[in-house]
């Protein structure tokens, strides 16, 4: 017995699934061009994965990046992402992280699984003080460079154009910081991102 709700969902999905009712898609590799500009709005939270949902959109920032493919089908890519977020209480962050990206396509949609390693400069949320030459010196938001290990999932839309110029996406990334404090080996963080991949150049 097929439930009516499933039936209606199937009808909605039918145009996407049945070849012949829509123009045939060119192969992913044929569509892909290296070095797109990837820009996004992001929100940072110092939190364990899937917790502190109320803070999900609290600490805004921007990300930029680009990528190139490793295979003809463009399902395996090398991405490079850099970004900044403003986090009043946990400290602002500036990062750069190369990531290996696996990107299977599902019709006009694509998913991404990405993982990598990078560096993050974590700024102290408040004024910091350091004893130098016997007196306390103020340092306006000093910080520390740390190892950043991000993993993420994304969902994007390529559309059906043979040569999409703009692909919107949403992304959920978690990353751990190593080196926050010797007593805290890793600190969990979360980035929610929404952005576009814009193919500005013909490569």
């Amino acid at each position: 017995m097929i439930k009516p709700s499933f039936l209606s969902a199937s009808f909605l999905a039918l145009p996407l699934l049945v070849e012949g009712q829509v123009p045939p898609l060119p192969s992913a590799g044929a569509l892909y061009r290296n070095w797109p500009v990837v820009v996004g709005l992001q929100f940072h939270t110092l939190a364990m994965p899937f917790s502190d949902g109320k803070s999900a959109f609290s600490n805004p920032g921007l990300s930029v990046g680009t990528e190139f493919r490793y295979n003809r089908r463009a399902t395996l890519l090398q991405g490079l992402q850099a970004g900044y977020y403003h986090n009043r209480y946990a400290g602002n962050g500036l990062y750069a992280a190369p990531q290996l990206v696996y990107r299977p396509r599902f019709g006009p949609l694509y998913a991404e699984l990405r993982a990598g390693a990078g560096v993050l400069y974590a700024m102290q949320p408040g004024h910091s003080y350091e004893l130098k030459d016997g007196s306390w010196q103020t340092n306006n938001q000093g910080g520390k460079l740390m190892l950043m290990l991000p993993v993420g999932l994304s969902l994007g839309y390529n559309g059906r154009q043979a040569s999409p110029r703009i692909s919107p996406f949403v992304s959920y990334q978690v990353f751990v910081l190593h080196g926050y404090n010797p007593a805290i080996p890793v600190v969990p963080n979360r980035l929610l991102q929404a952005g576009v991949r814009a193919h500005l150049f013909n490569h």
């Binding site: 110092l46 917790s51 920032g61 403003h86 003080y129 404090n181």
Partner: protein, 389 residues
């Protein structure tokens, strides 16, 4: 759209550092000290050395029956306006509060109102005990000597992350217990020692359940009779917001730089109950421990209970009683408690062989590690070295 963009730019540009500085003033000491205390010069030198090495401020208070009281301080109660650290400033006791909580519950034990070997479910409201794993297997004694096996809520990764992201959030006691949701006991209750702040939060909640008000019990039966007028424990909602309380510093990244986290520390400590939550002058801490050890607070048998040690599972040596640690330094035994918090650290101990009581406080967090935090451990050892000479 323009408004959204403008808002985003303003949000990104709002880079004013967060300001957690609290007011701090100089104060006046009301207890006379013995300026010719035999260990004064050595202890003063130790304090000045570590203040010069990068600890924001540090203070020591000592008492011996033959020489009376002595106290001194070095560094700053607040770096920003160069308020000197003084012996009259109120210091965070952090986990030293556990000694007070244990004593308060033992006062009820002396009145026959609590049985140490009864399950905690006999006393805790069901709304709280059902948040705990296997609560019916845990006794009051196991809470007092940290053998319950209950996980420490303060080690929970969700809690630490939430605290760092929301430093002004006020947790309730129930919130702290919620961090145990889905957890299991770490070992069979009563089988070994494992320090857990959860145990003493529950000691306070049990005292509340029996007496009605754990805070009032400590005020009426401990602080007032002992004349500890410079000790404050949840007596008013803003009891930590007085200018005599030292500012608190946090070496967040362990890199030799400290941030002023005074307001964060105040809010955090104000929400801690039983396992923390106390401030006092250094001499008040010393006087409390004196009263305990001189049997002016509890019956000798109850004090002996506090000193019935469970062993360290690693070394097999005596480790913890009920709200009291058993430590050794250069072959000398000491009884008391240490305290470590986000923005302060301390030690309150009695050296029976030397007949010496001491309190050591620093206004920098010792929960984490770092270039400066490591010096607080060195400072404690240096103070003990001087005392056992």
């Amino acid at each position: 759209m323009k408004t959204v963009c403008l808002g985003l730019l303003l949000a990104l540009g709002a880079c004013t550092p967060v300001d957690f500085v609290a007011p701090a003033t100089t104060c006046t000491a009301e207890t006379s000290i013995n300026p010719s205390f035999s260990k004064a010069a050595g202890l003063r030198q130790v304090l000045q050395h570590y203040a010069a090495a990068g600890l924001p401020g540090c203070v020591v208070a000592v008492y011996s029956p033959t020489e009376g009281y002595w106290a001194d301080a070095a560094g700053f109660a607040q770096i920003e306006n160069r308020t000197p650290m003084q012996v009259c400033h109120l210091q965070y006791g952090q986990s030293v509060a556990k000694t007070y909580a244990a004593a308060a519950l033992l006062l009820l034990y002396e009145e026959g109102k609590v049985q140490l070997d009864a399950p905690i479910t006999d006393y805790l409201p069901a709304t709280l005990s059902r948040k705990l794993p296997d609560a019916q297997k845990i006794t009051v004694r196991m809470l007092l000597n940290h053998t319950s096996g209950l996980p420490d809520y303060s080690s929970n990764a969700d809690y630490i992350a939430y605290l760092l992201q929301h430093p002004k959030h006020r947790f309730s006691s129930a919130d702290y217990l919620d961090f145990l949701t889905g957890s299991k006991l770490e070992f069979k209750p009563g089988s070994k020692f494992s320090y857990s702040n959860t145990n003493y939060l529950l000691v306070a909640l049990i005292t509340d359940a029996i007496h009605g008000n754990h805070v009032q019990l400590i005020q009426d039966r401990i602080l007032a009779p002992l004349g500890l007028q410079r000790t404050f424990y949840h007596n008013t909602p803003n009891y930590l917001r007085q200018p005599d309380v030292v500012n608190s510093y946090f070496e967040r990244y362990g890199n030799g730089r400290v941030e002023n986290v005074s307001q964060m520390q105040q809010i955090n400590v104000e929400t801690l109950y039983g396992d923390d939550g106390i401030v006092a002058s250094p001499l008040d801490y010393v006087n409390f421990l004196r009263a305990l050890m001189e049997d002016r607070l509890l019956k000798p048998s109850s004090r002996q209970l506090m000193m019935s040690w469970v062993n360290d599972p690693k070394t097999g040596q005596p480790k913890y009683g009920m709200g009291l640690y058993h430590i050794e330094h250069q072959g000398q035994v000491a009884y008391g408690h240490g305290g470590a918090g986000l923005g302060a650290g301390c030690a309150l101990y009695y050296l029976p062989d030397k007949q010496l009581y001491f309190f050591l406080g620093v206004n920098m967090g010792t929960l984490t590690e770092g270039k400066l935090v490591s010096k607080t451990g060195e400072l404690r050892d240096a103070v003990l070295d001087e005392l056992v000479k």
